[in-house]
Amino acid sequence: MGDNFQNKTMAAVMMDYDFKIKTQNERSKVEDLFDYEGCKVGRGTYGHVYKARRKDGSDTKDYALKQIEGTGLSMSACREIALLRELKHPNVINLIRVFLSHTDRKVWLLFDYAEHDLWHIIKFHRAAKANKKSVMVPKGMVKSLLYQILDGIHYLHSNWVLHRDLKPANILVMGEGPERGRVKIADMGFARLFNAPLKPLADLDPVVVTFWYRAPELLLGARHYTKAIDIWAIGCIFAELLTSEPIFHCRQEDIKTSNPYHHDQLDRIFNVMGFPLEKDWEDIRKMPEHATLVKDFKRSNYQNCSLSKYMDRHKIKPDSKAFSLLQRLLLMDPNKRITSEQAMQDPYFAEDPLPTQDVFAGCTIPYPKREFLTDDDQEDKSDSKARQNQQQQQPNTQQNQVQQNSHDHGANNAKRMRMTGPNQGNNTGGGQQEFHQQQQMMFGSQQQGGSSQQQGNYQQRF
C-alpha cells in the first residue's frame, strides 16, 4: 500500500498528507505500548492471543491481546468490535481498546486477562479423575459458574445479542486480582443481533455452534437462531461441569459442513435424552430435516434412555435441584426451554451453598496458569487444521478424551513451556490446610455435608 496515494488516472489525491502524518503521529502502536513477545497463550481460528503487560509500567496488570486472524477487517472482526464496543457487563469480556496496525494491516484487540477458562478447568478435573486424584474446590463452584454464565447471557439476550458459539473454551474465569473468580463470556466473533435479521441467519455462517453444544433444532435444520439455542449450550456446559464429561460427546468427521443435519450428533443426544415424544415437541414435524429424522431414526432404539438415567450414572440424583434445573435447560423443544432470567430464579440458586461472586469463594485456585505456546514456524496452517481434525476423530476412550477436546484451542500442536512454578496452582501448602475443610470435590458434590455451614463464613454472597 505504501505512500502511493496519487492515482495515475485521475490524479486524485486520496488522503491529505498532513492529515496522514498527524494521525500517524497520534496513533499508538500495540508493540510500543505492550510487552507480549513470546507470551502467546492461545491460538485458534480466531487468531492468536498473547498475555501482555504495559511497557510504561503504569500498571502491572496482565492483559490479553488478541491478534485477529488474517489481515484487515473481516466480517467477524467487525462484528466483534461493533458489539464489544457497546457491551458492558461484569460477566461479559471487556474490550479495552482496538489497535489497527496500518503497516501489516493487522487488527489487535485488548482485553483484561482471564487466567482460566472452563475448557481448561474441566480438562484439569478430568485428568485428576483419570488419575484417581481429587481436586479441592468450593462446594458451590459449579453453581457460581452457572449463575454468572446465566447472568452474562441474560445481559446479552436482553440487548438482543445472541452468542451462538457458547462452549467451555469461551467461558473465561478471572484469576487472582480484583475480579478473582469472575466469569467472563468471550469470543463474540459469531455473535449477532437478532431482533431484525437483515438476512436469514443460516445464510451467513453455515455452521456456527460446535456440534457438542448444538441444540437439536439446529441439527434438524432450523434456519433462525434463537435465545433458546444459547440456553441449550449452557445446559450442556452445566452438565459437563457436573460430570466432567461432555454430555453430548460425539465423533466428528467434518467441522465445516454446510449441512446442519448431523446424524451422529442427534443419535448421541437421543442416547442421553431419549427420543422426543410428539407431545413433548409438537413443532418437531415442522423442522426442515424432519423427514430425514423419521427415515434415519427409530424411537425404539432409545426406549431406555433418559436424562435422569444418564445423570444418575454420573452421580447426579434425579431429585436434586441441580438436576431439575438441568432438565429445564435441556428441553428438546426450544419453545419450552427456560430463559436465562427464569433459570436465574431457579430454586437451585436459593439452596445452600449460595452462588458466590468469586467462584473460588476465596479458596486457593487449584488450576495451573496458562502455559505459553511457542510458534512452530514450520507448521503450515492447513496442516495444523488437518491434525486438529484427526485429533477429534480419535475414538472416545477414557484415556484420550481430554486430548480430544483440544480442538477448541488448537493449542495441542504447539510446543509448550511452563512459565510458572507450581506455587500458584497447587493447594499443598500446610498453611492452606484450613481451606480443605470448606472445600469438596467439584464432582459428586451432591452429598450435603456439614462443611457447608462453615463455608458460609468464607463465602461472599450475591
Binding site: 492515482n7 486520496m14 492529515f19 461493533a82 464496543r85 496500518h102 437483515l198
Partner: protein, 268 residues
C-alpha cells in the same frame, strides 16, 4: 444492540452539540458557505444511496453508511480524505457491521465505476472512479479509527415502525414518514438528535403533508422535548426549501471544485 440506546456509544459519544459541530467545521466553512457545505453532503449522500441501491443493500445499511460518512467529517475537514473514496468505504464497512455480508472488493469497485459513470456524470464528466480496492481498505482503517470503533448506529426506522403501530397501522403515514427519515440523512439531524426524536419529527412532517390533524392528541401525549422535535422538523423543512431552488446538475461541479481537497506529500 438494539436493546439499549441510552447506554450505547451512539448516545454517549455521537450525539453532538450544535455549536461544537459548527466549530469543528470552521476550516471547511471558511471555504464553503453553510448552504454549500450542505449541498456537498447532499451530493455524497446521494452517491451512498445509489451505491447502496445498486448493491441491493437495505435502507438500514445505507443509513448507517451515511451516518459513518457524516461522523467522519464532523471531526475532520473534507480535505482529509477525498469524500469520493470515503463514501464507498462507508458502504463497505456498514454492510459488514449490519451483517449484510462482505461485499466482494471487485464488485464494490465495479459498482463505483458504473455508478459514477452512469448516474453522476453530471458531476464528474468523463472522469472515471479513480480508486481501487487497496485504497478502500486503507481508508477503512482511517474511518474505523475516526469513528472510535463505534459501529453500531441506531436509526429512526425501528422507532418509527413502533410509533406507527401505536398510532394504529397507517400505511400511507408510514410510507411518508419513512421517506422523510431517508431525506433526514441529508441533514445534520443524525449527528444531533437521538433517532426516536428524528422519527417523531418525521411523523409530524408526514402528518402535516397528509393533513392529518387528528393525531395532535397523540403527539401531545408523548413525553418528549418538543423543542428538539421542532428543531428536527425545521432542519428537514429547510432541506426541502433548499431543494426547491437548487439544481444540483448545474451547481455541483462548481461546488466540488471549490471544496477543500487533500494535498499530496510535498515534492522533494
Amino acid at each position: 444492540m438494539a436493546g439499549n440506546f441510552w447506554q450505547s456509544s451512539h448516545h454517549q459519544q455521537w450525539i453532538l452539540d450544535k455549536q461544537e459541530l459548527r466549530r469543528d467545521r470552521q476550516f471547511d466553512l471558511n471555504i464553503l458557505s453553510e448552504e454549500e457545505y450542505q449541498k456537498v453532503f447532499n451530493f455524497f449522500a446521494s452517491i451512498i444511496q445509489v451505491l447502496g441501491e445498486q448493491l441491493k443493500l437495505r435502507q438500514q445499511v445505507i443509513a448507517t453508511a451515511t451516518v459513518y460518512f457524516k461522523r467522519f467529517y464532523a471531526r475532520n475537514s473534507l480535505k482529509c480524505i477525498d469524500p469520493l473514496l470515503l463514501a464507498p468505504t462507508c458502504v463497505f464497512l456498514a454492510s459488514k457491521v449490519e451483517e449484510f455480508g462482505v461485499i466482494s472488493n471487485s464488485r464494490l469497485i465495479t459498482t463505483c465505476q458504473t455508478v459514477i459513470k452512469n448516474k453522476f456524470s453530471y458531476a464528474y464528466g468523463q472522469q472515471e472512479f479513480p480508486y481501487r480496492t487497496n485504497h478502500i481498505l486503507e481508508c477503512e482503517f482511517y474511518l474505523l479509527e475516526n469513528l472510535d470503533c463505534c459501529l453500531i448506529v441506531y436509526q429512526p426506522y425501528r422507532p418509527l415502525l413502533l410509533f406507527v403501530q401505536d398510532i394504529g397501522q397507517d400505511d400511507q403515514l408510514l410510507t411518508y414518514a419513512w421517506r422523510i427519515v431517508n431525506d433526514s440523512l441529508r441533514t445534520d439531524v443524525s449527528l444531533l438528535y437521538p433517532p426516536y426524536q428524528i422519527a417523531i419529527g418525521a411523523l409530524q412532517i408526514a402528518c402535516v403533508m397528509l393533513g392529518k390533524d387528528n393525531l395532535k392528541p397523540w403527539f401531545a401525549e408523548l413525553n418528549v422535548d418538543m423543542d428538539k422535535i421542532q428543531e428536527i422538523v425545521r432542519a428537514i423543512i429547510n432541506l426541502y426549501e433548499m431543494w426547491k431552488s437548487y439544481d444540483e446538475k448545474k451547481e455541483i461541479q462548481g461546488l466540488l471544485s471549490k471544496m477543500p481537497k487533500p494535498k499530496p506529500a510535498p515534492q522533494r
